[in-house]
Point group: C2
Chain length 268, copies 2
């Protein structure tokens, strides 16, 4: 069935036009809050709204390459400098009418980045910024039962197109990925303390974790953490022992996994 059509379509311009874009849901953590990379749209539709960074996939460009390129352009990082950034495909969104101009199929990618500097004004980015996720009025299926949502007045904006749904899907994926992969380490620097790692989990999951049990648990997962053999230079802000430093180990999956507390309600 499939390929007769293909031959008939050897001149592809005879077919209804479809545009393929790549969008990136890039998360980072700043000041203990989850942030998302967004760009402000200059032209209609949705002029003035925030949108995910993205654009047409270039000819002869692989999809993940295009996602990395878009991310690099908007963050100001040079394209090769995404070494510590995790990038994976999230999903593809192609409902007719999601872009009012034409049929657009968007391949969304999910990125986990350490705290990067703000995009420089001189860079390619017209207006790109890291925006706190809890400042967007997201239809957050997995609402945070612990912390109250701190909505900052004046910063609420509805995302363009169906990007709110894409972000919600990315957030779900991110929360679940922290459970069974070591990707939480992508949100911190190359060397980190267990308290910093715990802060990542608490921020993404929106829940508080028991410090002592978390400590023992992450150390018990084989291949998750690797000791650096050094400690922080100073203790905490108000005292305390110096914490040991770790880097990410060689595990690609956590076994056993670090399960979120009390998922029973979300099961049905």
């Amino acid at each position: 069935m499939t390929e007769e059509d293909f031959l008939a379509a050897y001149d592809p311009r005879a077919y209804p036009p479809v545009a393929v874009t790549v969008d990136v849901v890039a998360f980072t953590i700043r000041d203990g809050r989850l942030h998302l990379l967004l760009v402000r749209r200059a032209a209609p539709p949705y002029a003035g709204h925030w949108a995910l960074p993205g654009g047409f996939v270039h000819p002869d460009e692989d999809l993940p390459t295009g996602a990395g390129r878009e991310l690099a352009e908007e963050t100001g990082v040079q394209a090769g400098g995404l070494g510590r950034v995790h990038l994976e495909q999230l999903g593809t969104y192609g409902t007719p009418g999601r872009d009012p101009r034409m049929r657009v199929v968007s391949v969304a990618y999910l990125a986990f980045a350490p705290d990067l500097p703000d995009p420089a004004a001189g860079s390619d980015a017209d207006e790109a910024a890291w925006v706190a996720v809890d400042s967007l009025g997201l239809p957050d299926a997995a609402a945070l039962p612990g912390r109250p949502v701190r909505q900052r007045p004046g910063t609420t904006r509805k995302l363009a197109f169906d990007h709110a749904r894409i972000v919600a899907d990315g957030l779900d994926r991110a929360r679940s990925k922290l459970e069974y992969t070591p990707l939480a380490t992508r949100f911190v620097g190359p060397e980190f303390t267990i308290a910093e790692l715990r802060a990542v989990y608490e921020t993404v999951w929106g829940d508080t974790l028991h410090a002592g049990n978390f400590h023992r648990k992450v150390l018990s997962v084989p291949g998750f953490l690797e000791s650096v053999g050094a400690t922080t230079d100073r203790g905490g802000a108000r005292g305390g022992p110096r914490a040991r430093l770790y880097r990410a180990g060689d595990a690609r999956l956590l076994h056993p996994a670090l399960l979120r507390p009390s998922r029973e309600e979300a099961v049905r």
Copy 2:
């Protein structure tokens, strides 16, 4: 960044042509072996090779609708009759050159189906068939350590395009989905015994499970199974008690999950 290009591209025919197709990795279980729905290609490239069912996404057609349509066309089931079939997006494949004729971005879907009748010769399917997965020489990352791979001579075929990779990804996803979702029930009829359910897990995972422990475990997961209150009419082929019948419960996630035995090796 993204949307200036969009405006410039208001005439999409000015842009390099990209075709968007939908491909389906549909699994079912026949005679205790995992089967995959494939179609035989009539025209080059890859004439005579097996390929995944798929084709262009229609104008004004949603992506999952297109996947369901392709699946219905090739299985001979009418499009509305996919009620018990599970369909989810698997991933999108767009590497340049994956189709030698033009740039093709394929959105792959994963389907779990009960044992359906063979596509009737009179149907739309030119040549569609359910093919045993272990008869294809797949680059199976998660090779089955338990059972030997029963390669049937004369049936080995290399799949067209990058479809072998798509199938391998689908197989990985299927194995993992059985762990934390109740989707194993989609491979059996609406009422089934626990032994039939266990056979699904053993077939997809390629491992044998302890009957007694499996029995107790699936019954202990809340919302997984719901008792019908009846038993099979007969015992086993060579005797044995009649088994109780169950249907799928209302859980959408299994908690706690049914983990595959001995995943430690696959972690790194």
